[in-house]
Symmetry: C2
Subunit: 301 residues, 2 copies
């Protein structure tokens, strides 16, 4: 029964899929034991507690993991591959395990030193998954998230990439800053998003000069929380698009990320006349992990 376990282990969550002999998904489980809350010695028990009954008594089952589990503060550090590189070519790292039923491989991230120092962990596996389905792809992939990545891909390699902290800034500002008083709820306003986005894309300094006015509008004119929330999101994505113009201008963009967030990027790009398509982020992660499993085990199921 040759099966393996696909693992996506990020900063705040752990997800595992039991993959069958023919590559089919047999089961799927998730926990909130993300890398952030774990000491190195806690990774193995965290994984085993999630997948214990998937393991066999006699043969080690191979788990292939991507994401922040390979960070310096993770299970064990998986060294970065430096650009230009294939998203799947680099040497994976074996994680130390004590349970004989388990064998764990952590996929490396990708690093860049010029023009800006940058790193990714996990997104390279999604890109690898996309490339298994589009082997001749040449262009730009945007992976929206807490830290959004913009990636130039050519001839099967990551040529350069750019991280922005848009998602994390939105979370910090809406949960921890003075703006939180004006950003209650989860509502939305399309016009406010479009206006905030256009303003900061045209003039990124507006990010600094218009941020506090979200709070002031709430105090002076009872601006709704929906408008405030959408406006902040638009301002942040507009500033990001101003910063990443060399990536998207004149390009067709592939979006791989959570669907709601990807939709915001799609809206913003459409407003600039940029065509785009979306790929399902979980499918891409699984395709990338499967490609790594096949490459490591030297056969196709």
């Amino acid at each position: 029964m040759a099966h393996w376990i696909a693992v996506d282990w990020g900063t705040t969550s752990l997800r595992a899929w039991r993959i069958g002999e023919d590559g089919q998904i047999i089961d799927h489980r998730a926990s909130d034991r993300g890398m952030n809350g774990l000491e190195p010695s806690q990774f193995e028990p965290s994984l085993i507690s999630l997948v214990d009954d998937w393991l066999m008594p006699d043969t080690p089952t191979h788990a292939i993991a991507c994401g922040m589990v390979g960070a310096r503060q993770g299970w064990t550090e998986a060294e970065y591959a430096a650009v230009p590189c294939s998203p799947s070519q680099a040497k994976p790292t074996r994680a130390p395990v004590t349970d004989p039923r388990l064998k764990v491989t952590i996929l490396p991230g990708v690093s860049q030193t010029k023009p800006n120092a940058d790193v990714m962990r996990g997104e390279e596996t999604q890109i690898s998954g996309y490339l298994t389905q589009h082997p001749h792809f040449d262009g730009v992939i945007c992976l929206p998230g807490t830290h959004t990545k913009w990636v130039h891909v050519s001839a099967g390699e990551i040529i350069s990439f750019q991280t922005t902290m848009t998602g994390e800034l939105f979370a910090l500002l809406s949960n921890h800053s003075v703006l939180r008083h004006s950003l209650t709820g989860q509502g939305w306003d399309d016009t406010a998003f479009a206006e905030g986005m256009a303003s900061c894309l045209a003039r990124p300094a507006n990010m600094a000069s218009h941020l506090f006015s979200i709070r002031a509008e709430g105090l002076l004119s009872d601006q709704s929380a929906n408008v405030a929330r959408a406006r902040l999101s638009g301002m942040l994505i507009g500033t990001e698009l101003a910063a990443t113009k060399p990536y998207w201008l004149g390009q067709h963009v592939v979006l791989i990320g959570a669907s709601e967030l990807s939709q915001l990027y799609a809206t913003a790009l459409s407003a600039q006349g940029i065509t785009h398509e979306t790929a399902n982020v979980t499918e891409m992660t699984l395709a990338g992990l499967a490609a790594a499993y096949l490459s490591l085990n030297g056969h196709r199921t």
Copy 2:
């Protein structure tokens, strides 16, 4: 014994000064009972517990307060005066008190609806204090802080102003974001500050594209925390200066704020060839509160 109490009551702290008959400071106390942690009913006991022995049994002592104590979430809301206005002309608000030994007046903040909605509470009193010492001042005052204010003053009035969240963004990013791992300690690097500032002043979108590289440099090249910290500060102040250029370009700037932070603004402005002078923020607050006391009590001591 005609004396009164000067009160600067901000978001995170409460400071009180006992002022004597001739305007001299007799005593000074501070507590961490800022507006943020208090219900409306807790303001009076918080103030009394700080100044109880300054009060007289028979006559109410007048306390004049400025700052967030007058916010909607404060002791009682002190309505804003709208620009253009004198920083000290608006009608102050009496706070409800039960102790007959106390009479409390809260000074109003200042609001603006165009070009951006904006508000201030507390800074108007510092500006008022500056104007008592420089009654013919015409120009630009910058008040660095958690929320830095840039203010156009002419003919004794606040004409327009602009808030930036630079200080709060620095605190959020260095304490709560992924950058915190790279920003340990309190060290500094002048060159990194200057470079970060110049980069984002010239191209504010660099704020979005270079932010994560602070983390990546820490991972890839062991960039020191001092360099990272100064660079982040420079990037944020550079972005702010790009956004507030209409205020400072070609002007002489008066800086009123905490001395360390004001020094960073002074350094950044000097690099742009902008002359500036600094005024002590506590002295300006006390001068502004004294001007309000004298105006309310119709005489000069």
